[in-house]
């Protein structure tokens, strides 16, 4: 793979933005990214938009044509959809286009504007479309319930505890309290998490990421031209993706994600690293159990011990490995199709020592892991400062 650099980033704060439209969100993110890269919009060769479900959330498809031109970017545009991994997948497609020689420079935008749907049942159904429509959603599954099935299986198989899962939420809220762009900037206690409202037993409200609005944009360019836009580009050293059956019940394991393992194998091999080389990582903690399983699947701890690893503080900011310094999906927020791009932006700031109070001290190699659905899709990217 030809090496690719991230030369500019921009995002909105994440929140419930009832008075801001989808195109206003993307315009804010794109404008900031263009400014950040100090680039003439005419130099952008192609636009890639990651979004999961604007058709249901906003009665709006054809996002590529809406988003680019509204911000004065008239490059050919396309939307990429891979459920909650739409952002990460759009980034990969943009990398492929640059590698194939179609463009030198690409704009990648992730967006989800979820609060146009007011009824929580409608939101639950919209998110449920990332599962198997006929054989999961159609018989009463919801996303919290699918992750509850995973969490229950993990507790049964490995003896993991509710306290271990709750520690993920507490840690991510602590990190998010230091992130000015996060939706929830409040520290929470174990008691708050473990006594919160039941959503899909054993998953409680504070095991779940929120419903969020947000847009994030990055500008990619081939390595050779990167210094033209910034003195401090960051480089994508490896990239991998994995795909598995959309339905949880069709997969080999209920307690491990093959898509994560496959994505990691490809990305780590390309970047010539092992998990031990990773200083910090943004993982897809849509539910606390997702972070626990990811820690195991990526080899940061023994299989079945991800919860204990978290409860013991090994994943806290500047401990053994800083996991979700941004606050993760739980605290930073989870505008589903934008999440994969927000993750990249966190890595960008961390690698450039721009992350303020949540700055990690060891910051040579940062990784993103973006899951789609209940684990059917996964995109993993490896970043560093050095070309």
């Amino acid at each position: 793979m030809k090496e690719i650099a991230v030369v500019g980033v921009g995002n909105t704060k994440i929140g419930e933005w009832y008075d801001i439209s989808l195109r206003e969100l993307t315009d804010e993110a794109i404008s900031k990214a263009i400014q950040s890269a100090n680039i003439d919009p005419k130099e952008i060769g192609g636009t890639f938009v990651g979004s999961m479900s604007s058709g249901i959330f906003n009665q709006q498809e054809h996002l590529a044509a809406l988003v680019g031109p509204h911000s004065g970017i008239n490059a050919p545009a396309v939307r990429v959809e891979n459920a909650c991994a739409s952002g990460g997948s759009a980034l990969r497609v943009a990398m492929m286009a640059i590698n194939a020689g179609f463009y030198d420079t690409a704009l990648v935008v992730g967006v989800e504007k979820m609060t146009d749907l007011i009824d929580i049942g409608d939101v639950t159904t919209a998110l449920g479309t990332a599962a198997d429509g006929e054989w999961e959603l159609g018989v009463g599954a919801t996303f919290p319930a699918l992750y509850a099935l995973i969490m229950r299986a993990h507790m049964h198989k490995y003896g993991s505890t509710l306290e271990e899962f709750a520690s993920v939420s507490v840690k991510n809220h602590k990190n998010g309290s230091l992130n000015p762009d996060a939706q929830f900037r409040k520290v929470v206690t174990m008691e708050t998490v473990m006594n919160s409202r039941m959503i899909a037993e054993p998953v409680r409200l504070f095991d779940c990421s929120p419903v969020s609005d947000g847009a994030a944009a990055v500008i990619l360019t081939a390595k050779d031209g990167a210094k033209k836009y910034t003195d401090d580009p960051i480089y994508i050293k490896g990239s991998g993706a994995g795909t598995d059956h959309i339905a949880l019940h069709m997969r080999e394991s209920l307690t491990s994600m093959q898509a994560t393992k496959r994505a990691a194998e490809t990305a780590f091999k390309m970047a010539k690293i092992t998990p031990k080389d990773i200083d910090f990582i943004e993982v897809h903690d849509c539910f606390t159990v997702a972070e626990v399983i990811t820690l195991e699947d990526l080899g940061f701890c023994k299989v079945g011990k991800g919860g204990k690893f978290s409860l013991d503080g090994e994943t806290a900011l500047n401990s053994t490995i800083s996991v979700n310094p941004s606050g993760g999906l739980k605290s930073k927020g989870h505008p589903v199709g934008a999440t994969g791009i927000y993750q990249v932006i966190e890595i960008f700031h961390q690698l450039r020592n721009e992350a303020g109070k949540r700055q990690v001290s060891k910051n040579d190699i940062g990784v993103t892991q973006n899951i789609g659905g209940s684990g059917a899709s996964c995109v993993i990217n490896v970043f560093s400062r050095g070309a």
Binding site: G128, W135, G138, G140, P144, L149, E201, H249, M250
Partner: protein, 138 residues
């Protein structure tokens, strides 16, 4: 739910019809025409026995549209005796009754409805095996 979708899936929903590979013996639910293991085409229909065991479960408090007539309800993955797993609801159980490994059996039930006057979808749910004599003696 979409009427055409329910109609075309009626055999699977109403009687657990799936398929079986005549060559390697692997079972599929829902049914399919080509075996993913040995690549044999033209798989034959197979009606599952309808018994299995609970692989994992959850009690759902926040349902999607059309599923709010009993909150919480028990969602589970059931592993059929023939091998395949499916996602389903467990009925005739209360919170505390269900455990992983529990034997269950097919039960024909109402699945969802579109409001008071809309279409009702029927299909499979699972109940404790040997219902109604399944409850442990208090």
């Amino acid at each position: 739910m979409s009427v055409p979708r329910t109609w075309r899936n009626r055999r699977a929903l109403y009687s657990l019809e799936g398929s079986k590979c005549q060559k390697c013996g692997k079972y599929y639910f829902p049914g399919r025409t080509r075996c993913l293991d040995c690549n044999t085409s033209g798989l034959e229909n197979h009606n599952f026995s309808g018994t299995g065991k609970v692989a994992t479960y959850s009690w759902v408090y926040t349902p999607p549209k059309g599923f709010n007539n009993r909150i919480p309800y028990c969602l589970a993955i059931v592993e059929l005796d023939e091998g395949p797993k499916l996602t389903t609801q467990l009925v005739a159980v209360e919170e505390g009754d269900v455990e992983i490994g529990m034997p269950v059996e097919f039960s024909f039930r109402k699945i969802s409805s579109e409001g008071d006057e809309g279409v009702i979808t029927y299909g499979f749910k699972f109940r404790p095996k040997n219902y109604p004599n399944h409850l442990k003696k208090k």
